[in-house]
Amino acid sequence: MLGLPHRTERRAKRERVMSMNRRQFIKIAGLSTLFGLGGKGAFEILRPGMLDAAEHGHGAPALEEPAEPAIRWGMTIDVEKCAEPGVVDKCIKACHSVHNVPDFGDSKDQVKWLWQDDYEHTFAGNENQYMADHVKEFPFLCLCNHCDEPPCVRVCPTKATFRRPDGVVAMDYHRCIGCRFCMAACPFGARSFNWLDPRDALNEKEYNMEFPTRGRGVVEKCNFCVERLAKGLMPACVEAAPQALAFGNLADPDSNVRQILRKRPSMRRKLELGSEPSVFYLV
């Protein structure tokens, strides 16, 4: 008995603090059962807004629409210019040497960030049936599309692959456990698994000492040269063939890439999948 005044006092205090006390809750629940209402709906009808307030705390603002990003990096690839002799190879070589990408000389163990494919494979599924002959013959430079809705990121169980706010789909090799879910999820074959130690296939003398290699058992892919962007440089492939490739901010209507895309017709890979690639092919 001795504790009672205290308890009452405490309860009264709690009731003042809480938006809906137990008594009110039971009353509403009972009433609504009587009238055949149930669940959350009952509370919406009898005490509109009350439950939400109790759930989210008082005066919690409604979820805000995420603001448009200030930067979304993207690339345009002029397919015709890539057909000029040596351009494609130069780009691939530039990329793979800056990033210490090994060449095992064997498609089974192949690791690739940037590679060449033909029209049919690049646009598999939605290739135009009567596409102009010369387009069909062009070499298509392929790389990770840095998708706006990247399926690889959704499936990664460790968050080793993630989308940066600037649109780059990046990897943290420290965290990758090599489960290869992301390889199964990527519709573009942009990811490679390191079956072997990449250092076995790299020439020590040709290392880029400013960039790491990867280890055995991780998945790797193009990183849109984030390490170069951080220094204010263009991606290595763009630097190797500025006449064919352009890189810039898709979120800025006046950027170089947006100006190019306003003037030239372009294609993106497998748009029907909704992954929203950030790499545009100019045809």
Binding site: R164, P165, A170, D172, Y173, H174, M209, F211, T213, A230
Partner: protein, 138 residues
């Protein structure tokens, strides 16, 4: 007690085997790590400015944590600039900052790592500087 001596002998052998590692190394102190900071890059700095990213004590005790934070800063946050307690700026990079000065992994990193029996896997991916043969320092 039956077979008391058998049990005792068995126990003695067990204890002996169990503590084998201690007997083996008894009296042999592991050599105290000798850390060298006489790389060309460090020597280039004039004596009073010869400082690491943070002070010596902090680096000794907390470099692993700092490097861990650096990894997340550079990769996750895209922030490649570190401002230290002295207010100086450094590029966040193991290969391009730490190892540029400490280009002697064997005489620097490995010394304490071996002594304490840790084998961090940093250099499975991060390329360690080529160490020039002794007496060829330029």
């Amino acid at each position: 007690m039956y077979d008391a001596w058998k049990i005792l002998v068995g126990l003695a052998i067990f204890v002996g085997l169990f503590t084998f590692a201690f007997w083996m190394n008894a009296g042999k102190a592991a050599p105290v790590p000798e850390v060298k900071i006489d790389t060309p890059e460090i020597k280039k700095m004039p004596e009073p400015e010869r400082k690491c990213v943070e002070d010596k004590h902090f680096m000794r005790t907390t470099h692993m944590q700092l490097i861990n934070d650096w990894r997340d800063m550079a990769l996750r946050e895209g922030n490649r600039e570190y401002v230290n307690k002295r207010g100086e700026k450094y590029v966040v990079s193991l290969q391009n900052t730490c190892m540029k000065c400490h280009s002697n992994k064997k005489e620097f990193c490995d010394q304490c790592h071996n002594y304490t029996g840790v084998s961090p896997y940093c250099w499975d991916c991060h390329i360690e500087p080529k160490e020039e043969p002794k007496g060829n320092e330029s």
